[in-house]
Structures are given as structure tokens and as C-alpha cells.
Symmetry: C2
């Protein structure tokens, strides 16, 4: 929408405002009244009337499976969960001393972090609008703390570009403040000459210039950007005669030459708010909380080898962990949360189209590496508490993330690698030693102590982990419109759930939301049976 | 500095970079080498060689006094602390069940919060660059957590201005994203027509437009602002068929008419970073930690009535809390941390000029009110977790702050009033009941549940609190250049410390920084004596 005078309130505006004032529930009701269908913006699980002892086999004890078992068993369904791994949570893991990681290539590592140190190598942050995830942290009493997802004191370092700032660690706030200031200066000085698409009246223009002066931190006298306290002080103010010393902006040309603005955003994206949540003590607290409630329903180390069904029931063949022999079990329904990259390789009698549709999901390749540092030099020397720095080389764009917990402690775990796509593939081909070496090379470009402080590392290449075979699923828009829709429908008595069955792949809320919706359908089918 | 090509590296640039790479200590050494004097950007306390049992009377057990006692006693000085209140910490207090507040007007209240609920009615946030404060939280093992000081999901509500957004609760991120987008759109479309002060070359211009497109979230095709996910979704994406629903921007004219941009900033100010710290469990944990170490040196309920000195020692007259009789005590030196508004009314033999200089400090009036709510409706209904909303009426601009701890708990304390100046004076004239009523009237403008959820309140009017008589001191620039400088010098054997003796009045770091500097001077005097 181009700048201009007010427009009449649209239906959407009405709904936005209703949502703001009366909450999403009221908004959704209104949308239904207006004939605007929308699947769900779920705040709470669907009501599941009495299950009357009907039986459900739940495949996988990741968050989707745990959620299904929790909700269905509360509603009176008779649930059994089969999990191939020896623990619950799926990819929602936290590395601690003793955690084991095996890759299908044979790489094997055991976490040697100090007791009390931990690293979320699966999901690591919860946005405020992931209502289903927040529902479970609340009802299961998992305490949350803030996770700083955008720290303006962190560094941007780039070997691309040119000029004075190339190959220098620059604070994000300097780039943000200076670019913002120059932009506002240019516009404030010239706004009255411009021909706008939808002319603002003279009063609007004056107010707009006021806005530019305030947001760009321009001098009120001549509308020049001369720096701002917000970009940092050379010397902070202090006691007695220390009046502090302001800092000097970078030149606009230096900033453009170095291209540093490419890694900052003026407004946070929706999925990545500037602060997010993390469970106190590690992300695996969520799975542990479910386990406390319904862990007795889970059989661990039970790898599934066949899924078949008839008009009455679903039959699962799996390895019995006690006897180590193959056996079968049947139930009225099945909730299948296995990643599609795993499921499609399991024998089944799904219709061909259903089975083929699974191939439309691409496995996202992704690696993480946590480095235990023997001092929190990023806090003590750089005054960076949480958030992310970026190291950009000709070949790579590496995010280095600092912990948002244990501030001022003696040690800490830095996330030195978090990559995707071809970066992740190239990285995961390296030996474990080479992976660490690469992370150290990147980190020491901005932190001189990085290598000497590093005591031990632990990481994951999700696309090489058995029972996952990918960090998460990626669907093209075309696949979302076609194959994905087919998989959303139950295949007989089998319902697919998991973050791969959502518009939030890779997020815990995708697992919960899809499960809530499928459970509502399962319950409806059970009642009508 | 106007946009343009690079300039040669200045001395200041050199120092900035040295500071970034080598830390502040190295930078300060370099500044000294370059002959650039600066008092201090202190990271650690000054070295205080052996005190050899010399005696120091410390007046006041606020943070400055506690700090002085801690450092001097460790260095071998013989310290006695006299405190008029019955507890340590001065204004650094946390209200909990049973906390008593008395005002000099006779108003008396006892905190009735539930057990476990608390509210920092004195200092409540620590910036990452307050190194002295962070020094003590570290060495005294006071755990810190993030305090969210800028939550883009919080509301701005204004009854000033006109148009469709007047009197509506609007999310801060909507205002930020939409103003940003329109600004970038205008500039991106017209940048090639503009005559700039310092012309950018063609390549610079292209890169600048790329920046505008990215930061304004403009469509790449025609450089229009059509909204962005960052301003929020009407319906967030979720499971199965819920692909979410984007939100529609406000019009630029509506935004200008309502003037909502006046309460948001693109770049955080230096004193108010977007995230700050708070001690886990309450700000009074800092005073408690000092008390654990040197509490035995403090005599509480010991009101001081006279300060005199001769060439050898300082003599303090005070009320002995055990006998309730006036008595005197003497020592080699005195560290006086009393607020100037209190000190200037105590009998003393300070030189006239020194005593008169105290009048140059103005007492800042300020009130706070914490409201215990029986539900965290701002989290459950509005999805606001921490940060501040603003309610702007014709008369007032009220900040409402949500707790950054106890997320998803059943109750919480909202800071409903935090005002200054004439707002604070007008507010503090009201009865305690009327103060609460006023806070409720403001809060219910954006939160329908505000009044019904409120169970009890507790607050402070710092300018009416005995032994404080102001929230903190304010110095004009002229006073900083004259009277303040006189007070920075010791008067005989008496050294003034406290946040009032700093360029950080009202901040805990001002208390610590000024104390560190005075202790270094005291120690020098003691050694030369």
C-alpha cells in the first residue's frame, strides 16, 4: 500500500482489530461468521470426548508422539507408543555429559561437557506466538527463560565487500544506527522536493520529518546524522569526573562497501522475534515433562518394520527390545509421527499415491556444533551476553551464538556452527576433528581467545542421524498444494503427524499443531465408527 | 557526518578499534599514551594496598557504602558502617510480602503480595555496559537473568493525535514495520533523482537501494511496501492445512495522524538497551550478597546527626540504636554516601562553599506502583511476555511494564506507574487508594482484565521517603562543571560517594564507580599520611 490518506476499514482490518482486542478465538469465530475458512490458530488442544478404551498405536516418541499419547490417554484411549530410539523427544534433544551421537556413516561421539553444561542441538528457541508449544510448557510446568535472538552488541565480520570495514569485527548496533541515520538524513533533507505517489499534505510532511529526525537520531538544527549514543560510547560515562566519550559513526561509503547491513534487519521476522524462549535447563525438559506423565506408555528401542491395516485395525511389526525378536501388535487406530524420510522406507500397505507423495518432502540438511569454552570471554572481553555474531567469508556465512543462560559463569557452550544446505553437506563430510577445526577457524576471526579457550565440542549432522535422516522436511509451494494435502488426509486408520505435516517444519509447534488437528479427526472417526 | 567516501582513520577510530579488539583496558592505556586523559571506564575496583588498620567510618549502607566497606575491609582497613534504616541497600530495594513503606507525609503501607511475588521499586535493570555493577554480581555470585526492555509485541495506545489509530492499542512492531516500510519506499523510488550533499557513486546507490528494499521489506519487483511478516500475522501458520494469513499494514496517514512512532526508536539508546539484566529473585539480592560478606560491619537504625573533623580524624555523632541515645565515634577517614538532599540538612563543619555546592543537585521526583494480578492476562490473552506498553492520554504518558520472570505463572506483578517530574508530584499528592485507582484507569485502557485481576498494590514516591528525599540527583551541565567538581574533591578527610557523585545518577553503577574512584584517592591519602 502506498503512502496516502486513510482508507475505509476492510474486513481484514476489522478482524485484525477484533483479534487485538478480543483475542484470536473471537477473531476465528468472526471469520467463520463471515464465511472465511481457516484451519486453526490453535491455543489449546481439541476437545476429545471419551475414547471408550479404543486402542491407538503411536509410532514415535518425539514431541508429536508424546503429545498424541498425552492427549489421547487423558481422553480415555488405550495408547501404546513405539519408539526406535532409547529415549523420548526425537530431535528435541539436549547434549549433556555422556550424550551419545552416532551418524549413519559410522562417526561416533560422546559428549564430554562438564556436569551442568548443556547445548540444545535440536530445536533451541520458542517464539511467543507458538501457542501450542507454550501450552505444553505451561500445563507441564516447564519453566521458561528469555533467549536473546538479536543482540545489537554482537559482531558482524565480513571478508566479502571492500573498504575500511572489510575483515573487521563491527558491532551490529553501529551498522544499524549509522545506516539508519544516513538514510533518514537523505530523506529528511529532500522530502519536500520529492513527488510522491500519493501526496502527503504539508502537515503530514512535517510530522514525517519529525519521525525521520527522531528515528535517524539527526541533529534537530540541520538534520544531519552525527552519530548517536545508541551506537555505543568510546568510553561509557561513570563516576566523579568521567563524563564519557561519544563514538564516531562509520562513513556511509564504508558501510556500503563492506555490505554489513545485509545481516541485520530493522524489523524482526515473524519466525525470529528479537527475544524468544528457552526452557530453563535445556530443551529436553519438554520431552522429560511428557515422559513423567505418559512415559509408562512408551516402549523404547522398538524399531518398526511394517505398517499394515484392514477395515478394523492397524497392525505394526516391530522389534521387541526385550526378546530382540520381531513381533506384531494391532490397534483400532494408528498415529504415525515418523519422519517421511524414514517412513517411506518402511514396508507398508499405504496406497501407492499416498506412499509416493512422501517423496515430495525434501530433507533439509543441517549441522550444529557446540563448543565448551573454559571462560566466557565473549562476556568478559566483548560484553556480548547472548545473541549471535556473524562471520562471513568468501565461501560461508557462519552464525556464532552465545548462551542466554549461565551469565557470568566460569564456562559456557558457544554454538559455533549452525548451517544448512550445501554448507551443511560439505561440513558433514569432514571428520569430527576437522569439523571442530573449521569452527575454530571461523570463531577466532572475531574472538582471539576462541581456540585456546575451547575444551571440547559436541555436535550433530541431522541428515546423517538414523531415525531422523534430515533436520526437517521442506515442501515446495507446489508440493504443499498437492502431495502434502494428500498426506494430511488419513490413510484408512493411519494419521500422519509431526512438524513435517505443518507449515512450521522444524518447529516444535508444527509437531503439536498437526497432532492436535489429527487427533480431532481421529476422535471424530472413532465416534462415527 | 554526511554520507560520502571514506575518511582517513582518526585517533578516535583507532581507539574504537583497539577497544573492540583488545578490550577497554588496552584502549585506556593507549589513550593515556596519546595524552588523552579520561577518568575511568572501570572494569575492576582500584588496587588498595594494605590499609594497615587505619579506620574508616562509612555513612550509609546503600550500594556505595556496602561497596566501600567490602573493598576497604578486604584491603585491611578497619571499617564501621552507620545506616539510618533498619536494612541495607538504600534505594536498591525489592518489595515482598511484609515490606513497609513510609512517606514523610505520614502515608504508610505494608506489602501484601503473595509469598514469592516481588517487585523492584528501586533500580530494576542493569545495562550490559555497567561494568562495575556486573563486577559485583559476578564476584558476589548474584545470578542474572535477561530483562526485556523493548518488546515489539507490546502496545502503544494514544488519545492524542487523530485518525483511525487514535485510542486503539496497536502493537509496537506494526508501527515500526509500517513507518519503516513507507520511509524506505519513498526513498528507494526517488533516490536517483536526489541531489545529495556528498554524492554516492552509481554502485553505492544500487547497494543503498538494496539496503532500503531489505530493511523496508519492500517488494523487489516495484519497491512498494505491502506489509511484512515481521509486523505479525492475522493468523499464524500452523499444522496441516493452516497456511496462516498475513496482516495488512496501517496507512501512512493513519500512522502520522496518531503520532504513535513517537514512542518507538529504531536504535536503542545507550542507557536503555533492548535487553538488560535483572538479578534472579529481585534486585535486593545485590545488597544481600554484600551483607553476607560485610554485614557484621554495619550498625543499623543509626541516624547520623553531625559530621565534624580535625587534622587527625573525623567524628560522627549518631543515635545508638541499642541505647537510643546520641553518641560519637571517630576514625581516620570518612566515606559519606548520604544523598545530598539528606546530607545538606545534617550539622557539619564542611567549608561553606562545599556545603553550598550541595544545593546545586536537584532531587528527581519519581513514583512507582506494582500491581499484583491474579492472572497473567498480558501473556495469556495478548501474548506479551515482558517489555513495556505505553498509554498516552492528553495529560500523561504512562509506561506499563510486564515482568521478565515467572513466565506462564499463575500470578504476576505489573509495574503500572513509573513517572517523573511534575507527573510524579501530582501523582504522589493522591492518597494511596487514589494512586491505585489512577493506575487502574490507565491500565484498563489497553487491558480489559486489568481492574478485575488486580489483587493488591505496593508502591513508592521516592521524593517522600525519609533518608532518600528524591529518586536520585540531577545536575545541570553547568552544575557538573562547577559545584559538582568541588564535591568530587575530598573535604579534608571526608570523601563523597554515591550515584549522585557520577554521570550515572539513579544507576547502581554510578554508586560503584564513584566509590571505586574515591577509595583510590582515600588510599593514596592514607599512604601519604
Amino acid at each position: 500500500m502506498a503512502p496516502g490518506r486513510p482508507h475505509p476499514m476492510s474486513r481484514r482490518d476489522f478482524l485484525i482489530r477484533l483479534g487485538q482486542y478480543a483475542g484470536t478465538g473471537m477473531m476465528l469465530n468472526a471469520m467463520a461468521s463471515l464465511g472465511m475458512g481457516i484451519a486453526s490458530a490453535q491455543e489449546i488442544p481439541p476437545p476429545l470426548g471419551p475414547g471408550n478404551g479404543k486402542s491407538v498405536l503411536i509410532l514415535g516418541a518425539g514431541l508429536a508422539g508424546l503429545c498424541a499419547a498425552y492427549e489421547l490417554s487423558r481422553a480415555g484411549y488405550n495408547c501404546t507408543v513405539l519408539e526406535a530410539r532409547g529415549f523420548a523427544g526425537g530431535r528435541c534433544q539436549t547434549a549433556r555429559r555422556g550424550t551419545v551421537m552416532e551418524e549413519v556413516t559410522g562417526a561416533h561421539s560422546v559428549c564430554e561437557f562438564d556436569e551442568g553444561q548443556y547445548f540444545n542441538h535440536g530445536p533451541w528457541r520458542i517464539p511467543y506466538h507458538h501457542l501450542s508449544t507454550l501450552h505444553y510448557t505451561k500445563v507441564l510446568n516447564v519453566p521458561l527463560e528469555l533467549m536473546l535472538n538479536d543482540n545489537e552488541q554482537a559482531y558482524i565480520y565480513s571478508e566479502r565487500g571492500t573498504g575500511a570495514l572489510r575483515g573487521k569485527a563491527v558491532r551490529r548496533q553501529e551498522v544499524a544506527a549509522d545506516m539508519r541515520g544516513y538514510e533518514a538524513e537523505i530523506l529528511a533533507k529532500s522530502i519536500h522536493q520529492l513527488e510522491l505517489d500519493s501526496p502527503l499534505n504539508e502537515e503530514d510532511l512535517e510530522r514525517f520529518v519529525d519521525y525521520l529526525v527522531a528515528h535517524g537520531a539527526l541533529s534537530t538544527a540541520d538534520r544531519r546524522y552525527l552519530g548517536t549514543r545508541g551506537r555505543g560510547y568510546d568510553v561509557p560515562r561513570g563516576g566523579l569526573l568521567n563524563a564519557g566519550s561519544a563514538s564516531t559513526p562509520h562513513s556511509m561509503a564504508d558501510l556500503l562497501d563492506a555490505g554489513l547491513w545485509q545481516t541485520i534487519r530493522s524489523v524482526a521476522s515473524f519466525d525470529q522475534p528479537k527475544t524468544m524462549f528457552q526452557p530453563v535447563g535445556g530443551m529436553d525438559r519438554i520431552a522429560s515433562a511428557f515422559e513423567r506423565e505418559i512415559g509408562h506408555l512408551v516402549t523404547y528401542n522398538a524399531e518398526i518394520s511394517r505398517i499394515t491395516q484392514n477395515q478394523q485395525q492397524v497392525t505394526i511389526r516391530f522389534r521387541n527390545p526385550d526378546t530382540n525378536e520381531t513381533q506384531e501388535t494391532s490397534a483400532d487406530f494408528c498415529v504415525c509421527t515418523l519422519p517421511l524420510f524414514v517412513l517411506k522406507n518402511i514396508e507398508s500397505d499405504f496406497p501407492d499415491a499416498f506412499r509416493t507423495a512422501m517423496n515430495a518432502a525434501s530433507a533439509v540438511t543441517s549441522c550444529k556444533l557446540g563448543l565448551q569454552m573454559n571462560s566466557r570471554f565473549w562476556e568478559e572481553k566483548d560484553r556480548i551476553y547472548g545473541g549471535h555474531s556473524r562471520v562471513i567469508t568468501e565461501l560461508e556465512n557462519v552464525q556464532i551464538s552465545y548462551p542466554s543462560h549461565g551469565f557470568q559463569g566460569s564456562k559456557g557452550i558457544v554454538q559455533g556452527i549452525y548451517n544448512f544446505g550445501t554448507d551443511a553437506v560439505r561440513y558433514s563430510v569432514r571428520s569430527l576433528d576437522d569439523r571442530l577445526e573449521h569452527a575454530l577457524q571461523m570463531g577466532e576471526k572475531i574472538h582471539p581467545d576462541y581456540r585456546s579457550a575451547c575444551e571440547t565440542s559436541f555436535g550433530v549432522a541431522w541428515h546423517l542421524v538414523k531415525y531422523s535422516m534430515g533436520a526437517y522436511a521442506s515442501w515446495s509451494q507446489e508440493a504443499y498444494n498437492n502431495e502434502y494435502r494428500l498426506l494430511c488426509e488419513p490413510s484408512g486408520r493411519v494419521f500422519l503427524c509431526g512438524d513435517h505435516m505443518s507449515y512450521l517444519p522444524g518447529w516444535m509447534a508444527g509437531a503439536f499443531d498437526s497432532t492436535w488437528q489429527q487427533l480431532a479427526r481421529l476422535h471424530e472417526m472413532a465416534q462415527n465408527a
